[in-house]
């Protein structure tokens, strides 16, 4: 091993004092610190609430115009006001909330079960190579299968009852949730895993402290999609399956109004289904997702 010693006279490395550098450092910290600002309420209202509200008003205006111009017969296209009256009728009959609740309860409880099943499946698929090779493609394939296709099979297997509804929800939502987790884990930067290993996060501690938190954004996206799939599957199942044993949910209500040729009721059913889907997403998923992303500094570009 070649080795050379070079000794330079002490004192040639003259220069700044320690205090100097502390000053430079403090100045840099002050200059470079990133200030994250949150918008005021008025600003949020103007930027976030106003545009979609205008969009809805535009749709209503076009609808009303089509009705007033007699584009088609009033029996096929009732006015917005007719639909409003249909909603009022349900309200006075006292059934509006029970119809909504029947479906929301089924949808949410089915979703929670799908979450409990889909999460371990996702973990297994992402971490165990043979499982991934075997189940991975099936799982992503299942995602593109419309879950309404399961309804006839579920009716034969389970009969027309609540279990059949839940079966259809699970078949729709579990693949989404599992796939979301797999995607989330696949996208974890290898650097985090290396950094985790150097501070001693291996095995179970690594999964708990590094892998799962790092995969959370992808997992949440999967949950959101899982909810959308749950809700769609449930509506499909309710539309198809008719039995007095089943409570009256939104899908059944929609189908009943069709049988009565009550177009205002049908439109009301569609609007309510849309409304619930959006409301759950806005009230449950969006706040959680925004919090997670904001904490990681991933929302700055979106604002």
């Amino acid at each position: 091993m070649a080795s050379t010693d070079i000794t330079t006279k002490a004192g040639s490395g003259h220069g700044g004092t320690v205090a100097d550098f502390a000053g430079v450092e403090a100045g840099l910290d002050a200059l470079d610190a990133v200030v994250t600002q949150r918008n005021s309420t008025a600003e949020t209202l103007r930027q976030k609430v106003l545009p979609p509200l205008l969009g809805v008003l535009l749709v209503l205006a076009l609808w009303q115009a089509a009705y007033s111009l007699h584009v088609t017969s009033a029996y096929k296209l009732p006015s917005p006001l007719d639909v409003w009256h249909a909603a009022e009728d349900l309200w006075y009959q006292g059934t509006l909330f029970s119809i909504i609740w029947t479906s929301v309860w089924r949808g949410l409880s089915g979703f929670v079960v799908a979450l409990l099943i889909g999460t371990p499946i996702g973990l297994l698929v992402s971490r165990v190579r043979p499982v991934r090779a075997a189940v991975g493609p099936v799982l992503s394939g299942l995602q593109s299968l419309p879950s309404v296709a399961w309804v006839p099979a579920a009716v034969i297997w389970l009969g027309i009852n609540d279990s059949m509804m839940y079966a259809v929800i699970l078949l729709g939502a579990v693949p989404s949730i599992a796939n979301g987790l797999v995607a989330g884990i696949d996208q974890v930067p290898p650097l985090f895993l290396r950094a985790g290993r150097t501070i001693g996060a291996t095995g179970l501690a690594g999964a708990r402290h590094i892998l799962l938190p790092a995969a959370l954004p992808g997992y949440l996206a999967g949950l959101k999609q899982g909810w959308a799939f749950s809700w769609r599957s449930l509506m499909a199942a309710e539309l198809v399956a008719s039995s007095p044993d089943l409570g009256l949910g939104l899908g059944r209500f929609l189908e009943n109004q069709r049988e009565f040729s009550d177009m205002a009721g049908v439109l009301l059913g569609i609007i309510l289904i849309l409304f619930v889907g959006i409301a759950i997403e806005l009230l449950v998923f969006t706040p959680v997702e925004r919090r997670v992303l904001r904490n990681r500094g991933l929302l700055a570009a979106v604002k």
Partner: protein, 267 residues
Amino acid sequence: MSPALTTSNDADGVGTLDGAPAVRISHVHKTFGRPGAQTHVLDDITLDVAPGEFVTLLGASGCGKSTLLNLVAGLDKPTAGSIDVPGGRPALMFQEHALFPWLTAGKNIELALKLAGTARAERRPEAERLLKLVRLQDSYGKRVHELSGGMRQRVALARALAQGSQVLLMDEPFAALDAITRDVLHNEITRIWAEQKLSVLFVTHNVREAVRLAQRVVLLSSRPGRVAREWTIDLPQPRRIESAGVADLSIEITEELRGEIRRHGQH
């Protein structure tokens, strides 16, 4: 070996026998790839870091300096030879800060403390002490994205120190920073190294940085990586990167490095 290697300036090195090196790399080889299509990355590397010593590893691309650091960190195994770190798993700092964005600065440090077995009640005060050590006492609750590049590397340093290892491995940790910030961090790492009596193995491709920081500069040749030459730097700390002493030595070492690189163009 030069006499500087055998003198230990840390009598009470944690977990090391007196006089024993903090890191002992002996006859390490590393090859990658399948048999028949192998690349020989490291060729018979022998290198000791004495307790309390600051060593920089210098080399052009392809000299395997990051590979060597991974081996010392225990993230990979040598093909032949042995690596011994008597003090236990060394701390490692990367070019990227590698802080976890789902935790605050303080909680990043507390996670390392927790994994190192620090009792729950002691974690918060210890994290605050470490933040104070890197002069970021006001940043406990800051999110990673709220910190500047230099501040992130200081938190990363605090997190590395939280492991309680006396051996600190640094893989080009300041390469992505601007010159002024890097200068400030050179001062910080020199101060903390001296205060905490750390043994540091610091990888860089920046000759001036190597001379500014190290007691000993080790030049690796490329493809395969071999120890080409080493210099003991006796300039007093704190040094200035723009000082004449650092510049003179840098010129000499750069010339040597150029020579190493030139050899690869000849065949």
